[in-house]
Point group: C2
Chain length 445, copies 2
């Protein structure tokens, strides 16, 4: 049943049929449909859903819709939602809510829950702690499979958090993990301590989410335990949240690398003024930096006046330099993000980029020289000036583009800042300096 | 135990201890260590591993190391590896192997396996079919939970492929899915047909892997069934492979958007000549296109000769135009890739970018005008020329950057091609045309 048919059922107030149809649907799709409706209709349909499904749908609502629902429901209903909501989804929600809504949530929580919420709100943004949840299955090493499965059945957790169980000692220190698969295919009387994998990979609450994502990708895990500084289990991170992290981190890098202040809001939902604000700061910085390049042209105005045609090669030299540098910096920035490249590889990368620069520079210069001589039929000295500048510019651009991201990483600055736009501005100035120096020398100006 | 300690055990030939240590380790880490060793040592250690672990390690070897192993092992050993290897890993491997190795593999396969391999090799690159595997649990709707769990125990599949079971009818048509979680928490005599979710999301073998990845991210699935045109279940895709797809697709976009021919090989493992080959084609195209921009300067040489200072603002205007356009195109390209933006939004996007262009253009022009008048103290008409050009250029750049990726998508060209470098080259020409036209008009040249 598609969205249009659902909307028609709503329009025609065929609520009985609607209720039946919705109860078979995926929570994400229901939330998608309700997100487009006004808040009264949403509330009406929301209350129509089976309770468990309603909470799952709630978790996928937009912040605005969550706020509307919280303001509209009774304390009893809110209590049910808060009890059933995954803890990581609840924390995400609280972070976005205005204070009056947060108050309503906190009033409906126990003291213990309030303490836990406060603890979770303190984890730094983009840390493992900020994306973990507390719903996981904890087993004791002394249990056997039958007891473990009975325990699972009793707590009856939702979704994938059940597929890896965590074995802890009396101090809640992580001793090992055991998969539900292993429980299901083992004999009832097998001991957990004999089944568990004691070499489990884990992360710390303060680890960066990007490095956690790289661990998931490397090993192909479904979930990963998170421990505190004393190696006590404090939560788990599940792969569905990690997929969001991988997409978000890539989107953030795309934005930074295109000279924007990164934003997590979707383009279509962002206001024009917010989008403009996201774009102006770096454009201003780069615009003002580019005036230094202009000064170089000013300084060599006599050269330009003497050989007028030189001016016409400026765009080509600037663009090629910028593009060459961007290619190198993009590969290094991406390699650093996925964990494939390390700062300690700096020497190897520098040497690699020099050699690439020579090959690429010579190829471009050769094509350019041939074109200038055969098609444009310019003076050989001018053709030589342009082509020589091209080789030197490409080489320098590759070296600058290859090493600046590594330097940034070393200085704990986001390497993504050292992308195309900044490299271009830098290489522009360099290429013009080279250009006019070569021209002065070769043309005897 | 870290890599250095392992290498020391190998060096000191303490094989008994080594065997014990390795058998507790994760297959990915073992493969990482063996990838750095010579092929004789690798084979020696590989044969030391428990059989199941050995196959898991094999799946994570580099192509070269897989080739060495296949060439070195006996037919019996190879048979074991091929039997236990996940089918998607086997297909990936066969695609990379030289023909003599493929022959050895095919000789060691049954006729039925050979047919299946041929069928899988035919799926287009980057399609759902090319990343799916055939190891999944198939249940019949008439089974009860006890029978289903007994079936699971009997086939004893590896890893996460067990966590979602697929219910099919006699024609193998997909009727629904049921999670292992549901089986474990349900009563033994509950019928599968009553437990299964009949509204399961599925994809087709020919669907693009990027759109499949977007389905995974949207719903947070662990696995997704793949059906053929007659809706018969042909395989499943698991989330670990999808994480790789998400990373790869983003990396590919980063490369294309920085004017490179995309490559799946890691930077550090790619030869200098291959990296140069990846970079030269687009640099050449863009270099030659940029010469048109040069022609514009040539055409307006008399303007430049008359008001010399105009030349010095060319870099700033070109860079700002390029950066403004890149910002817009990057957001749209990324939105199209994650499925957040649709081609049908073109009108809304165009209107949004016009308004953003006005705000951004006016802000930059105001700052620039103030700087030119107060700091650089240039002639007011020149300041006005530069600032007016800035407004127009930024606006055009935003419109071009915002719509070209959508046009590309509509024409079934990769939108990532319409990124910074191409937009810059295009906007360069436009901005210079605007600049000289404004200058001619205002300065009366």
């Amino acid at each position: 049943m598609n969205e249009l048919e659902i909307l028609q059922l709503i329009e025609e107030k065929k609520y009985k049929r609607l209720k039946k149809v919705l109860s078979d649907m995926n929570e994400v799709d229901i939330a998608d449909i309700l997100n487009d409706l006004d808040s009264n209709t949403t509330l009406l349909i929301f209350r129509m859903l089976p309770k468990d499904l309603a909470v799952d749908v709630f978790a996928h609502f937009s912040t605005e819709q969550q706020e509307d629902i919280i303001n509209a429901v009774t304390d009893k209903e809110l209590n049910y939602i808060l009890d059933e909501l995954f803890f990581d989804d609840m924390i995400d929600m609280i972070e976005e809510m205005p204070s009056n809504v947060v108050s309503k949530i906190l009033i409906n929580s126990t003291q213990e829950e309030r303490n836990l919420i406060n603890q979770f709100l303190k984890y730094p943004e983009d840390s493992a702690g900020s994306i973990m949840t507390i719903e996981y299955v904890e087993l004791k090493p002394t249990m056997n499979v039958k007891e473990a499965l009975a325990h699972l059945k009793e707590i009856g957790l939702n979704k994938e958090t059940i597929y890896t169980c965590y074995v802890t000692d009396t101090q809640r220190k992580l001793e090992g993990i055991v998969s539900l698969r292993k429980l299901v295919i083992s004999n009832d009387d097998a001991k957990i301590t004999d089944l568990m994998d004691t070499e489990a990979v884990y992360v710390y609450t303060h680890d960066d989410q990007e490095s956690v994502a790289n661990v998931f990708v490397k090993y192909g895990f479904l979930a990963l335990p998170v421990v505190d500084n004393e190696n006590r289990l404090t939560g788990i991170i599940t792969v569905d949240d990690i997929m969001d992290v991988i997409e978000q981190e890539a989107t953030e890098d795309f934005q930074i690398m295109a000279a924007m202040v990164p934003s997590e809001t979707a383009y279509m939902n962002t206001k024009v003024t917010s989008l403009a604000k996201q774009r102006i700061p770096w454009l201003l910085v780069l615009m003002l930096s580019a005036t230094f390049t202009g000064r170089i042209i000013n300084k060599f105005n006599d050269v330009l006046q003497a050989v007028v045609i030189l001016a016409s090669f400026i765009p080509m030299l600037m663009d090629t330099g910028g593009n060459s540098g961007s290619q190198s910096s993009t590969l290094i920035i991406r390699g650093l993000a996925t964990g494939e490249i390390n700062v300690k590889d700096a020497g190897k990368i520098f040497w690699k980029e020099i050699r690439i620069g020579i090959i690429v520079g010579l190829t471009l210069a050769a094509v350019n020289f041939a074109r200038l001589m055969l098609i444009e039929k310019v003076d050989p000295t001018v053709a030589l000036t342009v082509s020589l500048t091209l080789v030197v510019t490409v080489m320098i651009a590759k070296m600058v583009g290859g090493t600046l991201p590594l330097l940034a990483k070393k200085l704990k600055v986001d390497p993504a800042l050292m992308a195309g736009p900044l490299i271009t501005t830098l290489v522009d100035a360099i290429s013009l300096m080279v250009y006019f120096s070569v021209a002065s020398a070769l043309l005897g100006l």
